[in-house]
């Protein structure tokens, strides 16, 4: 198979890294080679975060090159726009519609684009926006946005849903398992 490239974007603190871990572990559990990479450090302080998951028979580089991503998962609309050029033609974009102000907007130095969703649709006509926060809250925890977002792309992954569920069980804390599984299913149905 060709290399399957996933880009996950969001804001520091949103759980992009755990979502990446779930996808990478699921690929490994399915017998595939996988590389996963993100940059931490400064990103923790509310900065823009981007993570790559690459799946295939033999994966070399840990980095996804713009124009080659099969899926872009964005936890925030502005970040979807920031990284939409990573998608290959016909690639899939799923984004969380709940906005988070960048510090530049919070301090009045910049304006959050009011037409962010229109711009996303313009850049990627098949883009799908969901309210991941509402789904996560319904599942029992606002912090489960990351699992909702994984659930939302599950059908497109070269991985069985049962494998992903197994990994979510394994990486979750005991009391969080049910919430995370509900969030995953909620995302798939959203």
């Amino acid at each position: 198979m060709d290399i399957f490239n996933i880009v996950i974007a969001g804001v520091g603190g949103q759980g992009v890294l755990l979502a990446s871990k779930v996808l990478a572990e699921s690929a490994l559990a399915s017998g595939m080679d996988v590389k996963q990479n993100e940059v931490h450090g400064m990103a923790q302080r509310g900065g823009s975060v981007i993570s790559f998951v690459r799946i295939g028979e033999e994966v070399f580089s840990p980095v996804v090159i713009p124009g080659t991503a099969d899926i872009l998962i964005s936890f925030e609309p502005l970040e979807a726009l920031r990284y939409v050029h990573y998608l290959k033609p016909g690639g899939m974009l799923v984004y969380n519609k709940v906005t988070i102000n960048p510090s530049t907007v919070a301090t009045g130095l910049a304006v959050y684009p009011t037409d962010v969703e229109e711009q996303i649709t313009q850049a990627c006509p098949d883009a799908r926006g969901i309210n991941a926060l509402a789904v996560a809250k319904e599942a029992g925890n606002a912090k489960a946005v990351n699992m909702v977002m994984v659930g939302a792309v599950m059908k497109k992954l070269p991985i069985n849903a049962e494998v992903v569920e197994g990994v979510v069980r394994a990486v979750s804390k005991e009391k969080g398992i049910d919430v995370n599984l509900r969030a995953l299913k909620g995302g798939a149905a959203a």
């Binding site: 804001v11 520091g12 871990k21 990478a24 572990e25 490994l28 080679d33 996988v34 590389k35 996963q36 990479n37 993100e38 940059v39 931490h40 450090g41 400064m42 990103a43 923790q44 302080r45 509310g46 900065g47 823009s48 994966v59 070399f60 580089s61 840990p62 980095v63 090159i65 713009p66 124009g67 080659t68 502005l78 970040e79 726009l81 920031r82 990284y83 939409v84 050029h85 998608l87 290959k88 033609p89 988070i100 102000n101 960048p102 510090s103 530049t104 907007v105 919070a106 301090t107 009045g108 130095l109 910049a110 304006v111 959050y112 684009p113 009011t114 711009q119 850049a123 606002a142």
Partner: protein, 583 residues
Amino acid sequence: MKKIISGNEAIALSFGDSGGVFASGYPGTPSTETLEEVARLGKVYCEWAPNEKVALESAIGASIAGGRTLATMKHVGVNVAADALLTLNHTGVNAGLILMVADDPGMHSSQNEQDSRNYAKFAKIPMLDPANSQEAYDYVRDGFEISEQFDTPVMLRTTTRISHAKGVVERKEKIAPKIGPWVKDVPKYVMLPNYGKIKHVEIEARLLKLQEFAETTPLNRIEMGDTELGIITSGVAYQHVKEAYPNASILKLGLVHPLPERKIREFAGQVGRLMIVEELDAIFEEQIRAKGIRVDIGKNKIPLCGEVNADIIRAAAGDPPAEGTAPIAALPQRPPIFCPGCAHRGLFTILSKLKVFVSGDIGCYTLGALPPMSAMHTTICMGASISAAHGMAKVNEIAGRTEKPVAVIGDSTFFHSGMTGLLSLAYNKGNALVIIMDNRTTGMTGGQENPGSGRDLQGQPAHQVDMVTLVKALGIENVAELDAYNLEATEAAIKKGLETPGPYVLIDKNPCILRYRIKSPVLTVDQEKCTGCRACLKAACVSLGLLPPAEGKKQKVQIDPNICDGCGVCAQLCKFDAIAVAR
């Protein structure tokens, strides 16, 4: 069993599996998780040192006492440890010693972009450069063997894309730790000039032996493919090369110093165009050209700055890059900023208001340099805030300028190398206001313990140095406490520190809210009282946002309850009492 782990985790795991006995380091992105993972292994001794020099010196002692040893640090940490390293290369080791250094091409989280391969060349010691997590695991074991076989420290170099990239790793059979004898050997370990002279001759002889080793070791391998293009590369650049040209001939170097001359010559003779792909400096290229070997593509086409990727490599070889669309221009940037609830916010709100010159340092508080605070005017290296402020004050005095500089430094950075600057300030009759933000953690790297946190690397209770006693012991008489959440008191304290001649130290003891999970009741904006004056936005907090404008009126502010930490800085900036705890 196969696991998917980062390069840092792989190094830690292998240290445990390869008979490792002692590990020490100082946090620094992207190296930090290595030592944290060694601690998680549970059975191997490891510790945070106050700085990288202490870490390496302790590692040297551990090796002399007979235990396999690992020291971990980021690239700039090696500058701090360089004094030890450049004599350790003379003494050699007893048990194997690996210095793991994590470079940061692209400067994702660093103040410079130095290439640590220069240190291996400088110190004339072997360096290993893994290309994925599996190699990071394997090279620890190889490194110990090389270290012991050749009586030399070995540098294990990673980059951000190795340290933080996760890949599949298969473990090897575990080697039980063996502790060798602790022997007195004056000519080996006492580097008086007479012994040092002998050692220098040995270093040169050792390097020749290592060159021979480099010719035959499987760490350096030739993958013959299409011979039109031959590429010499190492580390993560190898992965980008495979991505760009899966069928090209490649000489992959695992041991990147010293270089295998015969192997390179043989490879160069078999290929059409010879290309060298290395991130940052032209270290291979300069050495290879110096041997009279023709290089067709190298730093003439590949940038000296930043990371490489498959597109850059393809373009350098004259092929079109992958079809990509350009990023959308003119989007609001999302730079990192103080966390909601962070005590640094209050401090920098006041420093910004007072328009003082702030000599800064390395830590979360460096973000105070960004707009709208823009209240940090130098950041050089760990510990430089106080010593640089001292130099400024001296020249100001000579020039007859009356403004007193302010140094801002965190607890971990102060212990690292700020203390010596403060000692100088006291000793040399300095005139600076020093603000120590003692939040009881090494924050920017994710919240590690330090000598002031009261816990060790394992999270166990440890001696907690008392900051006030320490500062006084260094010779500072004027020491006062600061509460940066209280803006009025903070302004008064800073003004007093500036007005009082001589060294003056303010210590803020508010703990890191992220590390210690502190949350106060969420604040809300009374829309009746808010005038839209935007004074609160000076707090630079991401929980604040402007509401859509009502017709003919100024935009009012709202607070996102999911993000607000209830610190109250924005409420103190509001002149209309519009911000209060949500009812």
